[in-house]
């Protein structure tokens, strides 16, 4: 388990595990049933410094880096991938501001994000295949004072509970996705409304909704990075999302493999535990292998981030690998548990529904292949 990890990173993983046991285990099943946002658990996450893990010390962050982040996310996900989703989406907004913000923006936003006084949300997708395409694409128009935003961001996680959003909008309707710019938008901004919560298959408790911008007026200082930086901000932040979501997938998968192995040891058919059947051993061995390889891949990508190296191709590779193997971790572990495993009275169905939400290929769904091939063919 400790391969590639420093003592600090391992400790952070362990403390996430302990945290999950104390704060998440008691609520995970209920949260899945009710879809209730776990406000108390998020406060506890803040108190335990999980919301500022990789942020710089001067802003109150733990400055522990991205391997630590994915260690924490994997270990939280073993118990509640929904809560991990809240952490991940928050981290994306914090990442974008730390990476592209000017000193004023950082000072304004990061201390509150690091301490968890403010939760972050990152909004890039729209209902069309790429941002900037489609009738309700978010458009940013220059005004004398700054910017006016009109349109809709879709499937925004932490919608309604975040205090600030990093939002991608087009500045030139004719140029579409090529004219993306990023903005920091406070949740209290006038004209900003949160749509009805989407009914998700899993990861329940992490709210997902549209953000509807009806002429939201922003000051000039709301622009994050340069006016032409939006596409790069979106791509790099989504690459971090791929790595962090991979950690969620692996956490869920690892929990499932361990549960299925324990089940196989106790379930007796044909006069012996099914764990003695090679057919069952093969299912466990294959899922454990995929978990392990994915973990190595995502840690390597996180290490590149820690070193300030480009990591987008490696992130896309992890994404692509898990697009093929991620959901299968649960398809095959549920199979080990057969009819019992299909019953919602057992734990794996929740994990099955959750894992599907961590391996999604967001529009455009061919992004991993495109990213990897672009590097190879450059």
């Amino acid at each position: 388990m400790s391969i590639l990890l420093t003592e600090e990173q391992e400790l952070i993983g362990q403390s996430a595990r302990d945290f999950a046991k104390e704060y998440l285990e008691p609520i995970a099943v209920d949260m899945d049933h009710t879809g209730q946002y776990p406000a108390a658990a998020v406060r506890a996450l803040a108190e335990h410094d999980f919301l500022g893990l990789f942020l710089q010390g001067e802003y109150g962050g733990a400055e522990a880096g991205y391997v630590s982040l994915v260690e924490a996310v994997e270990n939280l996900s073993r118990t509640s991938a929904a809560v991990a989703s809240i952490v991940v989406n928050h981290s994306l907004a914090a990442y974008a501001i730390q990476r592209w913000g000017d000193p004023g923006q950082k000072q304004d936003c990061l201390p509150a994000l690091a301490a968890g006084r403010t939760l972050g949300g990152f909004a890039v997708f729209e209902h069309g295949p790429t941002p900037g395409v489609g009738p309700d694409a978010l458009q940013a128009t220059r005004t004398p004072e700054g910017w006016a935003l009109k349109g809709t961001k879709a499937y925004v996680r932490n919608a309604g509970v975040a205090g600030l959003y990093v939002v991608l909008a087009c500045t030139d309707p004719a140029a579409g996705a090529k004219s993306l710019a990023a903005f920091i938008v406070g949740a209290e901004a006038s004209g900003l409304a949160v749509g009805p919560l989407a009914e998700t298959m899993g990861l329940k408790g992490c709210p997902v909704a549209d953000l509807v911008f009806d002429n939201v007026i922003l000051a000039e200082t709301a622009l994050l990075g340069g006016i032409t930086d939006g596409a790069a901000i979106a791509a790099e932040t989504l690459a971090l999302a791929s790595v962090a979501e991979a950690a969620q997938t692996v956490g869920i998968g690892q929990a499932a493999v361990e549960h299925a192995a324990a089940y196989a040891r106790t379930r007796v058919q044909f006069g012996r535990p099914i764990a003695t059947l090679q057919a069952i051993q093969t299912l466990l061995a294959e899922t454990a292998t995929d978990c392990h390889l994915a973990r190595l891949g995502l840690r390597a990508a996180a290490q590149l981030l820690d070193q300030g190296e480009p990591f987008q191709v490696e992130a896309a590779m992890v994404k692509q690998f898990l697009a093929r193997t991620g959901a299968k971790l649960l398809i095959d572990t549920v199979q080990v548990e057969g009819g019992f495993g299909y019953s919602e009275f057992m734990p794996l169905p929740r994990l099955f529904r959750d894992i599907a939400g961590t391996t999604l290929l967001e529009a455009p769904a061919d992004y991993p292949e495109k990213t990897i091939a672009a590097r190879l063919l450059a």
């Binding site: 879709a154 057919a279 019992f340 299909y342 061919d366």
Partner: protein, 385 residues
């Protein structure tokens, strides 16, 4: 596409229309509530579809196996939960078709023709893949059997009026001591236990059956004492292609929804790139291949040829295809897939790999056939001619 007769095409069109009108509009709601709605029975009763496997001699529709597969695919397309309701009822009849006497067939099929449904009860907590390891017993007392024990994961249990139940008449004989019985709803001592809450096919009713000193007439014994396992295996041979049919319907639905979504997303002249196009092509290839294996298996059955191994292969292949295609569809549709009815298809597909014998049990059956010592392809003729 397979070559269907004009009559089969007609029946397919009717089933598709039925599904479009009575199932698709309600499937999401019943999935949410997890409740089977009796209205479906009223609608199905009118269409007489629950009697599609019942011989004409008993007032049924007597569809051939291929036609049944086509109907079940349409139901799987609409909602695999409701499709399971229909398929399970057909499955309960199969045991009676295999081993029933005239009187037993009348007793079982007449309710089906009236629009009632049946259940097949083999599985117990200790007898899943190890189907012969059940503990329920039936003891002969005079001209009755007294049934004790329980069954689990019985589809339609709360709604069925007739059941085929497997129990040990000779516990010492193990698998060879299992017998099959027709049991009617309302027989004293026969009650419904816990209702399961499942990952998918949530609108289909899955319950525990409890038997406490349930007296059933000796005339309800199907076949002879000790023939239960043989009857169950033949029943499952007949039933597995039904799962393949539902699986196919699911997979086809996932592909159609995926294509619809992409076409909605992309402006008229733009097309998704080759990476996506080829994923769609792969989905189509797997669905069509699975459909051909299913239809071939049904042709074998309709021709009276052996089809046991094909039955296992078609179930395994179609269930795996449904799982793969629905998962791919949810992934390709991203958050839209995850927050819409498409996710239901993926949850529903998972059961296809589990029920009517897990795909591991099917592979056991298939690998045994593969590894069986080769036999001469043509029997050596005796004598001169």
């Amino acid at each position: 596409m397979s070559i269907l007769t004009a009559e089969q095409k007609q029946i397919q069109a009717e089933a598709t229309a039925f599904v479009a009108k009575e199932i698709i509009p309600f499937a999401a709601e019943f999935d949410r509530t997890g409740e089977f709605h009796p209205y479906l029975l009223d609608a199905a009763r009118e269409s007489r579809i629950f009697a599609m496997a019942v011989p004409k001699a008993y007032g049924g529709l007597e569809y051939d196996a291929l036609t049944q597969a086509v109907v079940l695919e349409a139901w799987g397309y609409g909602c695999a939960g409701m499709g399971t309701t229909l398929a399970a009822s057909v499955l309960s009849m199969d045991s009676v078709l295999v081993a029933g006497t005239e009187a037993q067939k009348r007793m079982f099929f007449e309710p089906m023709v009236r629009g009632e449904i049946g259940s097949f009860g083999l599985t117990e907590p200790s007898a899943g893949s190890d189907a012969g390891n059940g503990k329920s017993t039936a003891v002969r007392v005079g001209d009755e059997y007294v049934l004790n024990g329980s069954k689990c994961w019985i589809t339609n249990g709360s709604y069925s009026t007739v059941f085929v139940i497997y129990a040990l008449t000779d516990p010492a004989a193990g698998m060879k001591g299992i017998s099959a019985f027709i049991v009617e709803k309302g027989t004293p001592g026969f009650t419904i236990g816990t209702v399961d809450h499942k990952l998918g096919i949530r609108s289909s009713n899955t319950v525990e059956l409890l038997f406490k000193d349930v007296h059933i007439p000796a005339g309800n014994l199907l076949g002879k004492e000790g023939e239960g396992m043989k009857i169950a295996m033949k029943t499952l041979d007949m039933a597995r292609p039904a799962i393949a049919s539902l699986s196919l319907g699911l997979a086809q639905r996932a592909l159609d929804e995926c294509v619809k979504h992409l076409q909605r997303q992309y402006p008229e002249k733009a097309q998704p790139g080759q990476t996506l196009q080829f994923k769609l092509a792969d989905m189509k290839i797997e669905i069509e291949a699975a459909r051909q294996l299913l239809h071939h298996t049904m042709n074998l059955r309709d021709a009276g040829l052996p089809y046991s191994a094909e039955s296992a292969m078609t179930k395994t292949n179609a269930a795996d295809t449904a799982m793969k295609v629905t998962t791919q569809a949810v992934q390709l549709m991203g958050s839209y897939g995850y927050t819409s009815g498409i996710a239901k298809l993926m949850r529903d597909a998972k059961i296809m790999q589990i029920y009517e014998g897990t795909n591991q049990i099917q592979r056991l059956v298939i690998s045994r056939a593969v590894l069986a010592p080769a036999r001469p392809a043509v029997a050596v003729q005796k004598g001169g001619n």
